[in-house]
């Protein structure tokens, strides 16, 4: 245990925790926007898997990381169009539609991977970019300011999302259709258009999260996410539909995962003990849900399809 509490190991753990938090943070921030508009998307995991596969495939074929990121976002957008059509245009039940998207993404990414790639081959990873001056701060610098660009982007998107939701007309519209769509409708806000736009944002961010996941790992395998997208959805509840809360949840997940990996590497816990430790974040989330359930309220119209009659 004393091996763990040395400064260099702690810094390395924090650094990898921040890296591991990145996909959660991106997907959860997007899902926050979606849920604030009243749309629950349980398909995040499926979207992440599909975009992760396509990003991986692009890097494998072209070696171009930024093209891969763009493709990941594009896959998210396409899935967003599909999900928006199902839930906003057709008014289908959101929970189960999302499970359909999840199963579809799980199957299609698995199918394409086995057919087009076969065995996992490592690809280029996102390089870490040092921020001048800041990265020279002892200990803190290497942990916070020697990360990859998508990690920086994820953290920049926190204030951006706060600004979008809190300070723009579009954000106000999103919140109003999530709380009281009939009132918003009577004031001339198009519920469908606003929700559709929120869904596109949520899904392209899920796509970005998938790209970030695979480009940080440098490898793809079927069911790469292992339920990360579902956790990202839960983190929105955990963070009480607020970007800062979501960030805390994502960092918690990232740091716990990094700590478990570090302990395993140092031999502090046996192989099967790490399985037990890996239960901790999910158990914590359930406990947090129990504590928060009566204290914070979800967007009032969450999961409720809107129709005018």
């Amino acid at each position: 245990m004393s091996d763990f509490f040395t400064l260099s190991v702690l810094v390395a753990t924090a650094a990898s925790g921040i890296r591991l938090a990145t996909p959660y943070l991106l997907a959860s921030l997007g899902e926050t926007v979606g849920q604030r508009s009243g749309v629950l998307n349980l398909g995040v995991d499926g979207v992440m898997l599909l975009s992760a596969f396509f990003s991986y495939w692009v890097v494998l074929k072209t070696g171009n990381l930024w093209l891969a990121v763009l493709v990941g976002v594009a896959v998210g957008l396409v899935m967003g169009l599909l999900y928006g059509f199902i839930t906003v245009v057709l008014n289908a039940t959101q929970g189960i539609s999302g499970i359909g998207i999840y199963i579809f993404g799980l199957g299609l990414s698995d199918l394409l991977f086995r057919r087009q790639v076969g065995t996992p081959k490592p690809v280029r990873r996102l390089p870490d970019v040092d921020i001048p001056v800041l990265s020279d701060i002892p200990h803190l610098g290497p942990a916070l300011f020697q990360r990859n660009l998508l990690t920086y982007l994820a953290f920049l998107l926190i204030p951006t999302t706060m600004f979008l939701l809190g300070r723009t007309t579009f954000g106000l519209n999103i919140r109003s259709v999530g709380e009281n769509p009939s009132a918003a409708d009577s004031l001339g806000v198009s519920v469908r258009r606003t929700r559709f736009a929120a869904i596109l944002i949520a899904n392209s961010m899920a796509g970005l999260a998938g790209a970030a996941l695979v480009l940080q790992l440098g490898i793809f395998q079927p069911n790469l996410t292992q339920g990360m997208g579902f956790i990202a959805v839960a983190l929105v509840y955990f963070g009480a539909w607020r970007p800062i809360g979501v960030m805390c949840g994502a960092l918690l997940y990232g740091l716990v995962n990094a700590t478990v990996l570090q302990w395993k590497a140092l031999g502090i816990i046996p192989v099967n003990g790490s399985d037990l430790a890996a239960m901790a974040p999910a158990v914590l989330t359930i406990l947090a849900l129990v504590v928060l359930a009566r204290r914070v309220s979800a967007p009032a119209a969450l999961t409720r399809p809107f129709s005018r009659h």
């Binding site: 349980l42 189960i96 698995d110 199918l111 839960a234 849900l289 928060l292 309220s297 969450l302 999961t303």
Partner: protein, 392 residues
């Protein structure tokens, strides 16, 4: 008449869309759709033993699907099939390891009962959390899936690991070969058809009888229809919500026991993921239940169809080298289609009734298609989960 025709049309259309998508995928992957589908059909129904294999594949889907219908009828969504299957499998495995010498006549019912209890507990937890702490059951069941996978990995790599794996140092996460007495007896020689298949069918029939022929079932459906009305007429809504998820979970738990004690390897084994043990039956059961119109009896043929899709996909992989994951993608398409066709059907009915094709009586029903009487293959009484799941 017209109404029930439209009702039966939904799964048919869903199947056509899935077939069309499958054909497109096969073409895109450079395989002939005709060869592909005939390989799948041959793999699923080509011989007695293949039909048996399909039925065995369908067994957990029947159980999970019947459980899903119970939960849905009470207006709770159970996405925790995976965790409940795992809990049932683990508890039944522990029972078989503890009493390996009991005769088959006692041990087989004991392991099935243990599965039921294990799954029931994992269903009751999110049920109680929803009823008494307002925790959204979708989230809690998903989180419990993640918890139980790790718990299974922990047990199968540690306390329950095959001692031989420890000695050999290979450490494959699996239990030792379980007692012969615990294995589900084979029903037809030369095939894999075992006792689990009739058990699942009986359980689905039982779920139907429970829901529509008992006071308990009446209360569950009443709570699902309108919690306020049920409360006003003196029903204990909280207890019924917990009960619905517990029952739903216990059926999935039996599926877990059947997966272990109907397995060829006679042991519980994982690859570290949930699907590595369950084969995603917890999710595929939802698909089967939806396709069966959320009716326990119709879940049986529906699950057979999805069992056929799974065994057929294995054959597809063998013959045409098209990955079996195609079946999973098709499942997703079917869910999306069935769910989105429900409101579409409402529109069709509304526009037909506006065109004067229905009389007034039918007209009032179509106002709220969710609450009209169930019809085979339809989703008409699918409760609207939005009513309760708005809060955390």
């Amino acid at each position: 008449m017209l109404k029930s025709l439209i009702g039966a049309l939904v799964p048919l259309l869903a199947a056509v869309v899935a077939l069309a998508f499958g054909a497109t995928m096969l073409l895109a992957l450079g395989a002939s759709p005709v060869e592909g589908f005939s390989a799948m059909f041959d793999g699923a129904f080509g011989s007695g033993s293949r039909i048996a294999a399909t039925a065995v594949k369908a067994t957990p889907l029947i159980l999970v699907g019947a459980g899903i219908t119970i939960a849905f009828r009470a207006n709770v969504i159970n996405i925790g099939g995976e965790s409940q299957i795992i809990a049932g499998a683990l508890l039944s495995t522990v029972v078989a390891l503890s009493f390996p010498d009991l005769p088959t006549i006692l041990l087989v019912p004991a392991v099935l009962l243990a599965g039921l209890v294990g799954g029931g507990i994992l269903g009751a937890i999110p049920g109680a959390l929803k009823a008494y702490a307002s925790v959204n059951e979708i989230l809690s069941t998903i989180m419990l899936n993640l918890v139980m996978v790790q718990f299974m990995n922990y047990l199968l790599r540690g306390p329950l690991i095959d001692p031989y794996e420890m000695e050999a140092g290979t450490r494959i996460p699996q239990t030792q070969r379980l007692s012969d007495n615990a294995m589900l007896p084979n029903l037809v020689d030369g095939t894999r058809l075992h006792l689990g298949v009739p058990v699942a069918i009986l359980a689905a029939v039982g779920a139907y009888l429970l829901l529509w022929r008992t006071p308990t079932g009446f209360r569950l459906r009443a709570v699902g229809h309108s919690a306020d009305a049920a409360r006003a007429s003196g029903m204990n809504v909280k207890r019924n919500i917990t009960l619905a998820l517990a029952l739903s979970g216990s059926l999935a738990g039996i599926a877990g026991a059947i997966l272990v004690f109907g397995s060829e390897g006679q042991r519980m084994v994982t690859d570290g993921s949930a699907a590595g043990f369950t084969g995603s039956a917890g999710f595929n059961g939802i698909v089967a239940a939806l396709f069966g119109g959320l009716h326990p009896i119709w879940t049986i043929p529906s699950a057979m169809l999805f069992g056929a899709l799974l065994t057929g996909a294995t054959q597809l992989q063998r013959v045409l080298q098209v990955p079996a994951a195609l079946a999973v993608a098709l499942n997703g398409i079917i869910v999306i289609f069935v769910v989105s066709s429900t409101p579409v059907r409402g529109w069709i009915q509304r526009s037909l009734s506006e065109a004067g094709l229905f009389n007034r009586h039918n007209d009032t029903k179509t106002e709220n298609p969710r609450h009209s009487r169930s019809e085979p293959g339809g989703l008409s009484d699918m409760p609207d989960p939005s009513e309760e799941s708005g809060n955390v």
